[in-house]
């Protein structure tokens, strides 16, 4: 049984259908890649899996760990072990990065964490991601640069340890060094947590150090093609033209 199983998923935003019946299956611990032209519906798929209320599922099912989560609320889906790294992380004035992660961690684990232990873990993860420690006490994402926001997403991934991480263009907007640091962070997640990855990307850098199990191409809200790692190279050479009917 797959960890994530999506069948015939149709999703509408403001009464406009964006996804027209997507199928996707990700096994525990596997690494899948989603590619597709701008506006194809990749982020929409991420938000829909996460149960974001704006994205209405009009048909099909999403199940996770054997449970139907099609109608589940976002917070419950997160607690079940799905994490979405946002393409555009949201600024949250008034709430510090540190207190946000601590609250979230207590929710997903259902346990109180000693402040001292938490701080130590957080500091270690921030160091691994080459983040300035002072960011822990800054308001979440407020005034962070594009790259810093992406790092803050991976920091949350490392702290929350979900069993499935959807990374929506986590690599875009990162400089060369940052791509390397973030890739290392993702590798660390794979190694320590053994979770599955669903990576939405337009580039290949982030995939270099990972064993990719499957590549899915989405065009115009539909599955256009599926294959192994070689599909990534094919797309890099020939573009998406070949899949557009």
């Amino acid at each position: 049984m797959a960890l994530l199983e999506i069948k015939g998923l149709k999703v509408s935003v403001e009464d406009k259908e964006i996804l027209h019946g997507i199928d996707l299956s990700v096994g525990a611990g596997e690494t899948h890649v989603i590619m597709g032209p701008n506006g194809a519906g990749k982020s929409t798929l991420g938000f829909a899996i996460m149960g974001s209320p704006e994205y209405e599922k009009t048909d099909g099912t999403v199940s996770f760990d054997g449970e139907d989560i099609t109608e589940e609320s976002t917070d419950k889906i997160a607690k079940k072990g799905i994490f979405l790294s946002f393409q555009n992380p949201v600024e949250v004035p008034g709430v510090t990065l540190s207190s946000f992660i601590r609250n979230a961690l207590e929710q997903v684990t259902g346990e109180r964490i000693r402040l001292w232990d938490f701080k130590k873990k957080l500091a270690k993860a921030m160091e691994a991601l080459d983040m300035d420690p002072s960011y822990a006490e800054r308001d979440l994402n407020v005034g962070f640069s594009g790259g810093e926001k992406k790092k803050a997403e991976i920091l949350q991934l490392l702290m929350l340890r979900p069993s499935l991480a959807i990374l929506d263009e986590t690599d875009s907007g990162l400089d060369v060094d940052a791509v390397r640091t973030v890739s290392a962070g993702i590798e660390a997640y794979k190694k320590d947590v053994g979770g599955a990855l669903l990576i939405i990307t337009h580039s290949t850098k982030i995939l270099e150090a990972l064993d990719v199990d499957r590549v899915h191409v989405i065009v115009d809200g539909k599955n256009a093609c599926e294959g192994g790692r070689e599909l990534v190279d094919n797309i890099n050479e020939n573009g998406f033209e070949q899949f557009v009917k």
């Binding site: 209320p53 917070d75 929710q107």
Partner: protein, 369 residues
């Protein structure tokens, strides 16, 4: 006195007729001597007689005249002075020293009807720190109490005072919290006001920015919940050249809370090159709250700069989705947002013990620094 008229708006408007001021007949009657460990460097005066007032509580002309005559007129206004005089409240008159901070803790019990007053002179060049706490013995009690407290601050040349106030009162307590300052040249008044709880609160703070380059900085945070009400009147009377008034209010309204904030920046003739800004940001956690804000910038001087802004609302859908995607439900998000506001103001309080008490109240059973 049967009734008291407080929190008079410095400019009468027809539009805001009902918000010009409030009349209240729930008045504290018994004089209460302040007990505080006055630090050794501070001096206590023998003169404890209250001054009273002969100004009409609702006359802006008379209030202005007094301010131009270098008097202190408090935020609640002249009726509070009269009440203090009538109750024969012994005023604690102190002269500050920079060495040690002063902490005044007022613990109120059910049935209390206490009225107290303190007047602190901050000599030229002295930087003083004062903490005032207004706390119900049992914050969960539903007993009644009506209490009042007045703080007058006479801030000398190049002197400053940091006043931190914390209010944590039970749900049926009526409380009058009154502040007035006179700022001489380059005299600075900094106020951190944290209102955590209280049945019906009248809060007023007026600063007479008489001296050149005198300034005030007010950071206020409140949580008004249940059937609680908060009526505030904050006024900066800017007379001196290059004076500066910064007023920031951050609040949370829940349940059936009622709140009115009046904040006035009043640039008088001669206040050339002065600046002032007032902002209020309110999180409204229920549809049944009453949120009213009257931001006023009055101006009889040309080369001044006044800014006001008010924002309100709930966390955006985007923020909600983002936070929920990390496992937090709606109520937890509201809770985090609301406490974050109070935490941010509380962090600015100088007295460590007081900071800890606030953290324990906001985050019971949770480890904090």
């Amino acid at each position: 006195m049967e009734k008291m008229y407080v929190n008079h708006l410095p400019c009468i408007t027809w539009k805001w007729l009902k918000m010009n001021g409030v009349e209240s007949s729930d008045l504290p009657v018994s004089a209460s001597r302040i007990t505080a460990d006055v630090p050794s460097g501070w001096t206590v005066s023998d003169d404890t007689a209250a001054q009273g007032s002969d100004i009409a509580a609702n006359s802006n002309a008379e209030i202005e005249k007094a301010l131009f005559a270098d008097k202190i007129v408090t935020g609640l206004g002249p009726d509070m002075d009269r009440l203090i005089k009538e109750a024969d409240v012994p005023v604690l008159r102190l002269t500050a020293s920079a060495d040690e901070p002063l902490v005044i803790e007022n613990i109120y019990k059910d049935g209390d009807s206490k009225l107290s007053a303190v007047e602190i002179t901050i000599p030229d060049g002295v930087d003083a720190v004062v903490t005032e706490k207004f706390i119900s013995e049992d914050v969960c009690s539903d007993g009644n109490a009506v209490c009042g407290f007045q703080t007058r601050l006479i801030i000398g040349k190049n002197a400053s005072v940091k006043l931190d106030q914390v209010q944590k009162l039970a749900k049926n307590v009526v409380f009058y919290n009154d502040i007035g300052t006179f700022n001489a040249e380059n005299g600075r008044f900094e106020l951190v006001e944290v209102i955590l709880a209280g049945g019906s609160t009248y809060f007023g703070s007026r600063s007479n920015l008489a001296g050149r380059e005198s300034s005030l900085d007010i950071e206020m945070a409140y949580l008004v919940k249940g059937k609680e009400a908060l009526d505030s009147n904050i006024a900066a009377f800017q007379r001196g050249k290059r004076t500066d008034a910064q007023i920031r209010v951050n609040g949370v309204l829940k349940d059936e809370a009622k709140k009115l904030t009046k904040a006035t920046i009043d640039f008088k003739t001669g206040s050339t090159d002065s600046v002032g800004s007032e902002t209020e940001d309110v999180l409204m956690m229920s549809d049944n709250v009453v949120n009213r804000t009257v931001p006023l910038i009055l101006c009889t001087e040309e080369s001044v700069e006044g800014v006001h802004g008010a924002t309100l609302g709930r966390p955006s859908e985007e923020i909600m989705t983002y936070m929920m995607s990390r496992g937090l439900d709606k109520n937890q998000i509201y809770d985090i947002m609301e406490k974050a506001r109070l935490d941010a103001a509380a962090a600015k309080i100088h007295d460590e013990q007081t900071r800890r008490e606030i953290a324990e109240y906001l985050h019971p059973g949770e480890e904090t620094e």
